[in-house]
Amino acid sequence: MTYTRPNVWELGGEWAEPILWYARGVAAMRERPLSEPTSWRFYAGIHGFDRQLWRQLGYLGASDRLPSDALRRRFWAQCQHGSWNFLPWHRGYLLAFEQVVRAEIVRLGGPADWALPYWDYFKPGQNALPPAFARPDWPDGGTNPLFVPARYGPAGDGKVFVPLNNVNLRAMNERAFTGVSNGASPGFGGVDTGFSHSGRIPGALESQPHNMVHVLVGGDNGVLPGVMTVPDTAGLDPVFWLHHANIDRLWESWNRATPSHRNPTGARWAAGPAGRGQRAFAMPKPDGSTWTFTPGEVTDLVTLGYTYTDLPSAIAAAPPAEPRERLARPEIAARLEGARPVPEDTHVELVGTSPGPVPIQGSDIRSHVRLDAGMRRKVTARLAPALRAVGSPAAAPEQVFLNLENIRGQSDRAAFDVYVGVPDDQDPAAFPDRLAGSIAPFGLRKASAPDQEHAGQGLTFVLEITQIVDQLHLDSSFDVDTLPVRIVPIGPVAPEADVSVGRISIFRSGR
């Protein structure tokens, strides 16, 4: 049979059957003790676990017994970020979770074809938190199992929604699933890595909208982060699963947009980290057994027997979240048509960097990238003809990327808009066409800890700025020694959190 995941806003009422049964399933999982693999909190621990934060947020009490060491080693702290494993791992995580919820639902006499709803915050009028999640009470009486008090929203005031000017669907225009870690695009799905519990460079879809929605929905209350804000707690929020169902839907939509949007096929992808001697992806099943899976086994949604009520193949043609003038950029459509894998002879080269680290303090940070004269000329010489030659085969198109390298800090709530080429004395809000992108370093605190998986190097974000640079070049504003880069935090970043960008750099990619 095929399970169909429905749109949570189009179920026909606040407490329509699918969401009511979801709440009942969640309630049943919540009743199980933490140490049981099919319990609510055990499943959240599979994503990540932080003893202190769980305590502070009230998810770990003095009487709780943690799962055995063996169970924790096999299942916990598994989520894949900053990696091409991000999408397949979360797909498997969703499938397994859904099975557990469905088993509870069936046990309670609910529908056997129940499937997890998704939250499409991009659809007009649907960017607010679905109402069933927003109220403390529910039809069955008592506390609503879908309600989470530590869900603070973008302003930290408990009003939860996804501000559409902070999210976008640019990832859907990525040409290749997997990319590179050396300054050019990390690809739609991320860079070819091994087991990557807190990877360094997220893929395009992971960065936007995934990361941003986590951080803006969770927010913080000035003292503690929201549950959704931190990877180690995110799975504790019932809305996490609807968010990830949407991310999974966007993956499938990207696949359907054009035949060239293919998932990886090689053995490295198919076998996953387990094929390289690393931890296997493993999920507890309702019957107590373990489901071990590889990326190759979850690559095809149809084979898995799943679909979504709405799978627009041309989702990128109308990205709803961006200002009009940027939507109408003809290059995007042109590039979609000419979409093809990255040519083999692509070279990635550094063009310029900031003089040093850039601390994120205050509400408007001015910094500069010093450009190497030779590299700058190389970029401008190739840019215009390359764009015109988009339809021509084989040649690698000239692309320019802004890198925010090694972002570190002690806050998980940081998020910011990044502008390129806005003069220092001007208001960046007046230059929407110079917005390179909005980034949210989800998992920042852990990525900054020296003895964690990535040795505290923080997170690196890559934003394509080919169009901006081309525009600047046409205005003769790119032929300068230093190019202004403006960082505007989305919501205040506490100075004591010590958030900084290690280096801002510009890379070119092409022949």
């Binding site: 091409w84 290749a176 997997t178 692509t346 080269e349 680290p357 998986e453 990535h454 040795a455 290690g502």
Partner: protein, 274 residues
């Protein structure tokens, strides 16, 4: 299954392949240096032959091998001072030994620096980084050499020296300090792109990376330095272990046994496929 390399794998290979070639050459050279004095009329040959004969009673080393080993040229174990002969042999073999053991471990660092520096400066930056790395490692190597000589002198017998070095290495392997060094060894700091700061950062990164590398490897490196006859074999075993170790991700430092699980699993899946 069609196995086309990913773009990332292609980029990885561009640097890894030449480094692996250099490593193979270094192993060949190390082997040659070991065989050299035994087969040629090297000027050290006579003197060393003599000392080795004196050693033959307790350490039946191959004449050519013990030459580069600390203490081997000193005649009696009670005399811990370094002879110029053994020091020279050490320095002759050292560049090859260092390259053979460490070059593959340097690949991620070289790749990082190559990718993140200006194309016009890549060569200069990489050269400075490697120079600083080699300088710090060589200073460390001389200390290790002196330490090995002292151990040899203090221990009286070769077996005791080797035994105590292995015990010390085992202890170090279990310690949280070792893990700390391994973790820092994974750090790829940002480097300046322009002018003097770029040179300074390249030197600093090469030097600090060598320090953490020394911290991770010194105890194990001591062991082959104390072997006479099986020096090359011990060096190969230690090298394989150090390489295997590098596959494991950073972890919180603690007293615990650290086995190269990732590498072992990779090897076991290759050995019994399916």
């Amino acid at each position: 299954m069609r196995s086309q390399p990913t773009p990332e794998a292609r980029h990885r290979r561009r640097l890894r392949t030449p480094v692996l070639v250099v490593t193979a050459l270094a192993w060949a050279a190390t082997l040659a240096v070991h065989l050299l004095p035994a087969t040629s009329g090297h000027h050290l040959h006579g003197a060393r032959q003599l000392h080795t004969m004196q050693h033959t009673n307790d350490m039946p080393g191959m004449p050519g091998m013990s030459g580069m080993l600390p203490g081997a040229g000193t005649g009696s174990p009670s005399n811990g001072s370094l002879s110029t002969g053994s020091l020279q042999m050490f320095l002759l073999g050292w560049p090859f030994m260092l390259t053979a053991m460490m070059a593959p471990l340097l690949v991620p660092v070289l790749r990082h620096v190559h990718a993140r520096s200006l194309p016009s400066r890549r060569r200069r930056t990489l050269t400075l980084l490697v120079a600083a790395y080699v300088a710090v490692w060589t200073a460390g190597g001389l200390v290790l050499f002196g330490l090995a000589a002292a151990v040899r002198a203090g221990a009286g017998s070769g077996a005791v020296a080797i035994g105590s070095a292995i015990a010390a290495a085992a202890l170090w392997q279990l310690s949280p300090l070792k893990q700390r060094c391994l973790n820092r060894h994974h750090v790829q700091p940002l480097i300046a792109a322009f002018g003097r700061p770029a040179d300074r950062d390249a030197l600093r990164f090469g030097g600090t990376h060598a320090l953490w590398c020394l911290g991770s490897c010194w105890a194990l490196m001591m062991v082959p330095l104390l072997f006479d006859r099986w020096h090359l074999a011990a060096m190969a075993v230690v090298t394989l272990y150090l390489w295997a170790e590098s596959f494991d991700p950073p972890a919180p430092p603690a007293w615990c046994p650290r086995l190269p699980v990732t590498a072992v699993r990779v090897v076991s899946t290759v050995v019994k496929p399916g």
